[in-house]
Amino acid sequence: MAEISVMALYDQTIENHSEFLESLRHRFLDDDRKTALQKFAMKGFPTKKDEEYKYTNIKEITEKDYNFFPKESHNITKEQLDELHLGEENFDWIVFVNGQLHKELSNISIENAEFLSFNYALNDENHKDVFDKYFNTIAAKDLAFTNLNQAYCKYGFFLKVPKNVIIEKPIHVFYLSQNQEENTFYNTRNLLIVEEGAKVEIIESHHNFDSSFVFTNSVTEIFTYQNAKADWHKIQNDSDTSYLVDHTFAKQERDSLTTVNTFTFGGKIIRNNLDFIHNGENINSFMNGITIIGKDQLVDHHTAVHHNTPNCQSYQNYKGIYKDKSHGVFNGKVFVNKIAQKTNAYQQNNNVLLSEGATIDTKPQLEIFADDVKCSHGCTVGQLNKDALFYLRARGISKKEAQALLLYAFANDAMQNIDIEPLKVKIEQLLAEKLEVTMEF
């Protein structure tokens, strides 16, 4: 294990790389990993001078030093896991602890599909072709965090759903970190391939059980083929000693449907980046987000939809509720290529600030080069409607509950396309919890 002296993350990434490579069984990616690290090293971490990080200061993350080699031992109990579950007994649970897949804690019933830990798939000769075809083909090659992930990725999962296979039960993937005395750095990498006519639904959540910090730098690539459907729900409700930078790239072929929902309730600093790439006609893409944060938390949602082909639709609906001194950022980009006629792109970002110390920076960005398109966008920042509040209170509902009810109503339409009932209930419970009420909506 490397000697960790106090040095910032940047230096550590250079310092630790050869030891990291030595620790791997597969070595066919070594050159790619080294190149990625060099690219990262040249520019380093983005700063506030970088347009994409203008409102999001990640210095707090990068100034710390981290252990790159998490201790594997843990004592996560079934009871602790049960608390994280959505309460639905028959969901598939995939449990990673300290980076390792733990089958004894998981409940894997997936049939007719290939599910492997990312590391196992990398080490497996049989999957070399799949990796050549998909891995790192849609992830950005010019970003600090994606390059860093490419250099260090090891944890995460690989799932390929073959043609016409419908996976009925949602798959909940847990990333747990426990028993780490030092701050720990995880580079998580997921690869999801949903072949023609197939269907799958993933729920992803990260949980840090320690008081030391966890920084997760996650990259996910999703490929959705013709007539296939992929839904990915991110529940972000981690501790105050958690940082998350997530890049998710989704490439869709004709007649496909992909959803990425992001529900953010906790974590110290969270940066979500979503890229949808259209590669065929009649594609539907959905991005919904509900954010409720407080204290001095920071959540940044960056989205980009690349309408490269005609007759496609994208819908983005992000709701944010900010308490205390929390800070929200929304930047939604829609690019419409000049051949992408009849594009229908919808983007909405609405925010409620519940305290004077809370701030939101919201920026819709549309670049349209086709002339026959329907694109709409809007963003609002406001406080709760006083008349509505009075209406509820005049019916005997206390101020706090009335506020919660109105905020639930506000956030509700970003929940419309969740078809997993226990997930909906969980989101509602988290809403109530964050708004400090005990009511059911």
Partner: protein
């Protein structure tokens, strides 16, 4: 039941609207307040219900002998004051049923009762909604969202019947209603009415009073009650207007 003494109120940091209201309502009574636009009718109902946009500068509001001026709107509701809104607020994502459940149980909790059992609640919802000719699917719709004017008012009366307050203030409940809807709403109020509770009607027009018979009619103008009479005063106002009283 309600005893308003020399009530002065203004919009927070703004104009004085109520300039010395005196009004006593006893159990079993129906009072109507009429008056020209801008007289302060809706302000009076909002001030009784505790809207925080208004500041009481003088006087008191006694409800069952207790001064309620310092009470929050929800506390007044818990004591038995109900305001039917002129413009009910739309709340997407919260169904009529869930809303009324929450409201009813909050009131019960404040008065030391357990939550009403779900079965009993549903039975009560069914009974009251049938009386008002409210269809089942209406109850699962989002509160007031996309409701017609008539549906909104009917929903207000439904809530009143569910909560069964001691004092119901109906603020312009007749406005925007066609004659059939008006009759249904009035039937609801008449069914609600008994010897132990009281109703305060705020209205522009006399026609509601054909269906709900008031014991007293008050004329509110320029922040004061300038005349009080019986039902015949409403008819007189209908034919003569307000000018003869104002000069």
């Amino acid at each position: 039941m309600l005893n308003i003494k020399n009530l002065h109120a203004r919009i927070e940091d703004g104009a004085q609207i109520l300039k010395g209201i005196n009004l006593e309502i006893k159990p079993g009574e129906v009072h109507a307040i009429m008056g020209p636009n801008g007289a302060g009718k809706s302000t009076l109902s909002s001030v009784i219900a505790g809207k925080e946009d208004y500041e009481v500068t003088e006087g008191e509001i006694l409800f069952q002998g207790e001064n309620i001026i310092e009470d929050a709107p929800e506390e007044r509701a818990h004591k038995g004051i109900f305001l039917s809104f002129q413009y009910p607020v739309e709340i997407p994502g919260v169904s009529v049923t869930n809303f009324i459940k929450a409201a009813l149980n909050e009131n019960r909790k404040a008065n030391g009762f357990e939550d009403m059992p779900a079965k009993e609640m549903l039975g009560m919802i069914r009974e009251k909604s049938e009386k008002l000719g409210i269809k089942k699917d209406f109850l699962s719709r989002s509160l007031n969202e996309g409701f017609s004017g008539g549906e909104k008012k009917r929903n207000e009366i439904f809530q009143m019947m569910m909560l069964n307050p001691k004092l119901a203030i109906l603020d312009e409940t007749d406005s925007g209603l066609d004659i059939d809807a008006l009759r249904i709403v009035a039937d609801g109020v008449n069914q609600f009415k008994n010897e132990g509770n009281a109703v305060l009607l705020i209205t522009h027009y006399q026609r509601l009073l054909n269906y709900i018979e008031p014991d007293y009619v008050h004329v509110l103008a320029n922040g004061k009650i300038i005349k009080t009479g019986d039902k015949s005063l409403a008819l007189e106002l209908e034919s003569k207007g307000y000018d003869w009283l104002l000069n």
